[in-house]
Subunit: 485 residues, 2 copies
């Protein structure tokens, strides 16, 4: 078939490859609205699985969902000085409504702190109302000039948690709890193991005291900021006068946090696992986990094979998300190509020969050893073997991604020439000592385009940290550098 | 407690009562954004249950979710003449993005036909791609001047189905299928039995060939349009050039439909069942189906009672959505008041006396016979009796609502004086013969404020239809009139 063109290989042009994988997998596409994307059914189904897993975890940790207005009066965005500085330049602004010019323009939310806090202030009277643990699933708009599907588009979907606490310690505990929820989700569901740590002062969320982040390494050795968790201190409480009465009757500002992940995660998923044949999905996030492709030549064979395929689908339906592709208008080869491009973890082929042998041929979309992709399974064992196969694939994808991250992590670098050489050729995460000044990062960034992704948490910190920064000054702490999306 | 104020009774001021029920139930509130609401956690949890039930039914009927841009280039809205006439006057318009004036203003979607069809046009080549069955869960904005929580606010949440078909018949079948999906959901989940039927030519969706609707009767005997399903003919296909190649190789415009329900349903739910004590929820849509309230006076009693309450919660957790209210800072009376206002279907009280008797006291939020609200249940039977009780309550709410609708339906009315008398006093659904002219409805509306809600489907049509319209002319068909939200 004419459409069965090979993708641009990753090694040749990663960016072209990425776009082709997204298009071939029918995950998303551009639209007549400049830079905005449409999330197509297969891409949206992945997002739904992500939402379900995250939402369950948010609820387990005591959060409730709510929904706040899309629009923020422009003056509200200006109440927190750093916040407006960070977000005002990239807002979309509604100036007319119902045919009339508005008295005050409304900003389409780029994030919701500036509308959530004036509203939630009314929900908080006393310490008994704390902690207040709220999450919102919503669309947000940040006017971007350079756009990429899932990674950077003016509108995207996300969740934003907003919580209020009675003490600094409680807010900090929440900030770190949600960081760990994100990390576990990325590891266990996405098989995308991120580094976690804290951002520098000048790279934190506009209005935060401290920003923690998950940074994952893509196959091109660039980093992707995949989720952030912010300790907002009392900044927004002061800006919007959010106070509570303490047990002893005094009135204090609350301590707040916010945290979010977005449809950007789908871009990270693509760049973590997909190969030159197209999309590869970890089974837990695959909308279709197994596709059954019946193979027949004659009308006579067709009946028998289809009957077996339907029986198999029936047996599997309650243990995996299975799809029987019984279209008569498409040949098996074209079906293989389509489901491969959509990242279906296991293809189950049933033909006359398989019927004779009492087996099904399972073909794995991913295997650490590519020669081990085809596995015949005896009829009676498909249910158990398939679930084992999917579990194993989930684990193998994670192990492969951890190995790739570690293989591409360069620790203990203290020589700037070596640093430049790594960034320019290998890429990856480069761990160095750091003097702690903004000027140093700015100059390294100017020359190499690498930026400080984070100061690693203790889980990722090196045993020995170089005594000097790559600029030659004394190192204050360790940081991780990378080129980043 | 000071907050335990009685609500304004329904009979006294239905509108004030409605607002108080919504506020007391913590379902929603107004915000600093003119007319816009915040959906609070308890209200949002109801919406999540609605979404889950509807989404499952959409998927069972072959639909897939996707996500399209929030913004519509203004010129696109103008492509379908009737569509722009209907929606342009109530749009919110983005004129600036990223600090610059846009070359073309962007409309915040009031509904998505004008952005979905130019995008989906690319997904359709041949008859093999049809039907294309898509749904979107999203926020939309329609600039409203008179606003009411859930019923009429500038921004609301909804789902909008958009489908393309190869023939007029297929599109019509889909339109009616989704109308029946809505009707069943309203009956079986919301216990809010609607009339179904078709709208008049001048009351249909802007751009549709035919609009079908679900109209439910509220307790004040006003009608609420609760869901609509539109056969769009080839109107949008022509406007956006959406064609497919037929089996014989010619090119034809597709036939399309759209259909939607919104957070307005929550308003309908409130006005269908709630009483002068506050919210009443059908168990299937109650975020908390049973609340356990432990009752104790001394610290000694506390341990025993709490232990029994926790044990009970553990026994119930996998069969109902149960909440143990073990707050020490709130007394039992205040807890009763709070959960009553939030519409929790069953309260389970456990005190020292109940422990002695080996029972739990169940108190139903709704019972056809108010004297039968309190029911002691022996310890070992709570699981089974509680689920029976919830099922029964769901059915009783539906039966009560059907009876109320029928008691307030006036059939065979052909005298205009009688019609006016009914509308002015009793209200409800008034079935009449109808001459079929727009002028007739306009003049009746001017005088009585009643409008034609729909021409009833055969399930609701009267056995005998008056020969003449209330205007005295010959009747062409039957219609149902009501005052409406």
């Amino acid at each position: 078939m004419a459409e069965q063109r090979a993708l641009t290989p990753r090694a040749e042009d990663f960016s072209a490859w990425y776009n082709e994988v997204v298009q071939r997998g029918e995950l998303a596409g551009y639209t007549p609205v400049r830079g905005c994307m449409v999330i197509r059914p297969h891409g949206y189904a992945i997002w739904e699985l992500m939402q379900k897993a995250l939402d369950a975890r948010f609820k387990e940790t005591g959060h409730q969902n709510a929904y706040f207005p899309l629009f923020i009066p422009q003056s509200f965005l200006h109440r927190e000085a750093e916040h407006v500085e960070g977000f005002a330049p990239e807002t979309a602004v509604v100036t007319h409504g119902g045919g009339k010019e508005l008295e005050e323009p409304l900003v389409v939310r780029p994030t919701s702190e500036a509308i959530i806090w004036p509203i939630m202030a009314d929900w908080i009277q006393s310490y008994r109302d704390l902690p207040l643990l709220i999450n919102q699933w919503a669309n947000v708009v940040r006017w971007e000039m350079r756009t990429r599907l899932f990674l950077r588009t003016p509108e995207f979907l996300w969740q934003e948690g907003h919580t209020a606490h009675a003490s600094q310690e409680d807010a900090q505990r929440e900030t770190l709890l949600m960081l760990s929820v994100y990390r576990r989700f990325m590891e266990e569901w996405m098989a995308m193991p991120p580094l976690t740590g804290v951002k520098t002062e000048w790279d934190k969320f506009a209005g935060a005291d401290r920003t923690y982040a998950c940074e994952a390494l893509m196959q091109d050795n660039w980093a992707l900021q995949a989720g952030t968790s912010h300790n907002l201190g009392q900044n927004f409480a002061r800006a919007f006068d959010v106070k509570y009465q303490t047990e002893d009757g005094s009135h204090e500002y609350v301590w707040s946090t916010s945290w979010g992940v977005s449809t950007r995660l789908i871009g990270g998923l693509v760049m973590s696992h997909s190969d030159d044949l197209g999309l590869v999905l970890p089974p837990k996030l695959a909308p279709i986990q197994a596709v059954i492709v019946p193979i027949y030549k004659s009308d006579e064979g067709r009946g028998q094979v289809l009957e077996a395929a339907e029986k198999l689908a029936g047996q599997l339906r309650d243990v995996v998300r299975v799809r029987l592709d019984d279209r008569d208008t498409v040949n098996p080869g074209a079906k293989y190509y389509e489901w491969e491009g959509k990242g279906v973890p296991v293809r189950l082929e049933i033909g006359p020969k398989d019927l004779e042998k009492g087996q099904v041929m399972a073909v794995k979309r991913f295997a650490p050893d590519p020669k081990a992709r085809k596995v015949p399974i005896p009829d009676g064992e498909v249910r158990s073997r398939l679930t084992e196969m999917l579990d194993a694939m989930q684990n193998e994808l994670l192990a492969t991604a951890i190995k790739r991250r570690e293989d591409n992590s360069h620790r203990g670098i203290d020589d700037y020439e070596e640093f430049k050489e790594i960034i320019a050729t290998a890429g990856g995460f480069v761990y160095t000592g750091y003097c702690g000044t903004e000027e140093c990062e700015a100059s390294v960034k100017d020359e190499t385009k690498a930026t400080i992704r984070l100061m690693p948490d203790e889980d990722f910190r090196s045993d020995e940290i170089p005594a000097k920064c790559i600029c030659g000054k004394k190192a204050e702490y360790e940081v991780v550098w990378a080129r980043a999306y």
